[in-house]
Amino acid sequence: MKTEGETVAAETAAILEGILKRYRDDDGNIISILQDVQDVFGYIREDAVNWFSKKLDIPASRFFGVVTFYAQFHLRPRGKNIVSVCCGTACHVKGGSKIAEQVKKELHLNSEGETTNDKRFTFEVVRCVGACSIAPVVLVNSKVYGDMTVDSTSKLIKKLKEGAGAKK
């Protein structure tokens, strides 16, 4: 088993040191560490976890226990753009599942959490983003699109693919 935490590149280590400092200044919450790691890398990198585990003398299993408990954390890289369809109550009764179907169809993906081959888009389902009064809602990264229909969803995805409103 690989235990050496030092096996990260020098520049990565510098970033991790920064996160570690903030953690020490704060009140020692490994969730904050993981949130920072995900902010920087887009997902939870195993080598980063091992690095912290070693530095802090906290078993890596505790980190992974936290990672797998909270929906926010991802163990695999995601696409550059996250297209999330809300399936909270208000969106559900206004036809959110049809919108989700349409997004999947347009992106040629089969299920939640998948990423397109070109790594540009990841499709996710969220449960309420607090924009229930304009349900059903689609989020592209953090931009909210409300009152969606199957048609407007198709158009939105087509536009995103062409590059409007999405990261390349």
Partner: protein
């Protein structure tokens, strides 16, 4: 307009999440541009302010723009950037409002029965400016408390106001503070619960986005009352704007010396840290929330001991909901008597609800406790979209229940809703109409709670899974005789044996739908029919011969190639290939696709 009688014109643009999604920022930019273009040209003497304000509640009519001219204020609805030019020309410069874009009677009806305390400031002040809050009396509550009241006075004031927790359980806030105050300990904590996990509720988000300083002030007053100098706000990471606003507000309060040490020259100090939730519904439960702040998996533990005795890092801790805390400054400023004069005998004050679903006017509303459901849905909400028939209103989210039409006249307060098998909860109110299937709704909530069950206790972990399986088979047409009784039995076991509120309330949506809509369950189980025509597996699609024009729209829309037919001739759906997606039903302009 003549130069001399020019007044101050304020353009207020809503930038809550709803407003932003509808293009609030673009509208602000358009106004700025139009005004600066014109003002230079024609050398007008009035000053224009663009104010950003938080949620005004009526999200269905976003973007809302107020033009305040002296003491006259007019509001435009559904404004798009390209409409700014005309408003600037005709109204700001010409003095004649653009009548057809002004809000109409619906807007007034939407507000007539509301009583806005928290939302009033939310929709009028700039949430990114501490001075805006101070101008409307902000931070005078904490000032008053520090200069005139001792902690016991504050507690009795809150007790006298009758305020009860808005996070779901309705526990009296003053009492909670008192217990915590009396618990011995040097270090105590105040936690603001901004996890807002109920899918379909967004009042806490709107309050933080629209009036973050009221929450900060509420926490400070709570801190003074219980003897705590440390606060945490546990907020969902899914609310990036709210997090940003809150952080900004905290830093502004620091700069002013309103947070930190020796506040207003007293020896009281208070500090607030923001902790981001990581996406787990159960972390809204107080003991799970504490575990999460401590950096652990967010699993609840058995109570007692309650957090007021044994909370964060083992210290006495008060956990209050955002809305609860936001009420505090207003109570201190206006007095307990004033607050207690609103509402019913046991439920005082106002409650903010997120009115969503099949009503015409969706949005955020604030109503006095004791208003009837009918008033909310018909007077404020304007009735059901498309004037379809009302079926039920779901309150309290995954822990709540569905209330049927016969009960629309009950007053909205903690006791009355509990009596009919639902709860006030955090304040989600999702209106359902005849096109909603109640078994599907129950299944929807169980899918949610089952996924969010933390897995610590067996009744919840396995019980919700079994409930979901049974509901699943019923909606698929595989329900069996006796399933309803099985659901009821299982539900009562789960309620009785679960460790925390999640499991204890998870069966409520199932029980309340069985209680009021049993015949719908029976139709699914016995006749294999979904009366609301929602459950896919129970539907069949067919072409109604006399309406079909042979236009081919359905044929093109069908993803599975189940439809055949020549142009201008009758089409046909092959039931063996049909995947029941409903695409044909939706595209047909001639209502020639039937389903049952």
């Amino acid at each position: 307009m003549q130069k001399n009688n020019l007044k101050k014109v304020i353009v207020r643009v809503c930038i809550g999440t709803g407003g932003l999604a509808a293009g609030g920022k673009e509208v602000i930019d358009a106004f700025k541009k139009e005004i600066s273009d014109r003002c230079i040209d024609i050398d007008l003497d009035f000053t224009c302010h663009y104010q950003k304000v938080g949620c005004r509640g009526f999200c269905a009519r976003d973007v809302l723009v107020d033009v305040v001219d002296g003491d006259k204020s007019l509001t435009y609805q559904c404004i798009k950037p390209e409409m700014a030019a005309r408003i600037v020309d005709e109204h700001l410069i010409g003095g004649k409002p653009v009548k057809e874009w002004l809000i109409d009677d619906t807007y007034y009806a939407f507000h007539a029965k509301q009583k806005k305390i928290l939302l009033k400031d939310c929709g009028t002040i700039d949430p990114e400016d501490i001075n805006a809050y101070i101008d409307v009396g902000g931070y005078s509550g904490i000032k008053k408390v520090l200069s005139e009241m001792n902690p016991e006075d504050v507690i009795s004031e809150i007790k006298a106001s009758g305020l009860r927790g808005r996070g779901g359980a309705g526990f009296p806030t003053g009492l909670k503070w008192e217990i915590c105050r009396k618990t011995p300990g040097d270090t105590k904590y105040i936690i603001c619960n901004a996890d807002e996990g109920d899918p379909g509720a967004f009042m806490d988000r709107s309050i933080i986005e629209g009036n973050p300083h009221s929450v900060i002030e509420g926490m400070m007053i709570a801190g003074y009352a219980v003897g705590s100098d440390h606060g945490y706000v546990y907020i969902r990471a899914e609310y990036p704007f709210a997090v940003e606003r809150l952080r900004l507000a905290i830093s502004q309060a620091h700069e002013r010396g309103y947070l930190g040490k020796n506040i207003f020259g007293s020896n009281f100090g208070f500090d607030i840290k923001v902790k981001l939730g990581a996406g787990a519904f159960v972390c809204g439960e107080e003991t799970a929330l504490i575990a999460s702040i401590e950096g652990q998996r967010g699993m609840p533990r058995a109570k007692p001991p309650f957090p007021v005795h044994h909370g964060l890092w083992g210290k006495p801790t008060v956990i209050n909901n955002v809305e609860t805390l936001s009420n505090i400054p207003y109570i201190i400023r206006n007095g307990a008597q004033w607050y207690a004069s609103i509402g019913t005998e046991k439920s005082k004050g106002t409650k903010v609800f997120a009115l969503t679903g099949k009503v015409k006017n969706t949005g955020l509303i604030e109503v006095p406790m004791g208003i009837t459901l009918r008033e909310i849905i018909y007077d404020i909400g304007g009735g059901i979209i498309g004037d379809r028939e009302f079926k039920a209103v779901q309150t309290g989210g995954p822990s709540g229940g569905c209330i049927p039409a016969e009960m629309l006249d009950i007053p909205v307060d903690y006791e009355s809703l509990a009596q009919v098998g639902s709860i006030v909860g955090s304040g989600g109110m999702v209106v359902l109409d005849e096109t909603d299937c109640m078994v599907n709704i129950a299944r929807f909530f169980l899918e949610f709670t089952q996924a969010e069950s933390c897995g610590k206790c067996v009744p919840c972990r396995i019980g919700t899974k079994r409930l979901l399986e049974i509901l699943d088979r019923i909606t698929k047409g595989l329900g069996r005789e006796g399933d309803i009784e099985l659901l009821q039995k299982l539900s009562s076991d789960i309620k009785a044996a679960s460790l925390c509120g999640l499991g204890q309330t998870a069966p409520n949506p199932v029980l309340s739908t069985i209680r009021y809509f049993r015949e719908e369950y029976e139709a699914h189980i016995r006749d294999k029919k979904c009366p609301a025509k929602v459950c896919r597996d129970l539907l069949t699609y067919y072409i109604i011969e006399e309406f079909c024009k042979g236009c081919g729209a359905c044929l093109r829309a069908c993803p599975s190639g189940a439809i055949t037919g020549e142009k201008k001739k009758l089409h046909k759906i092959n039931p063996d290939i049909c995947i029941k997606c409903g695409a044909c039903f939706e595209v047909c302009k001639f209502k020639a696709v039937g389903r049952e």
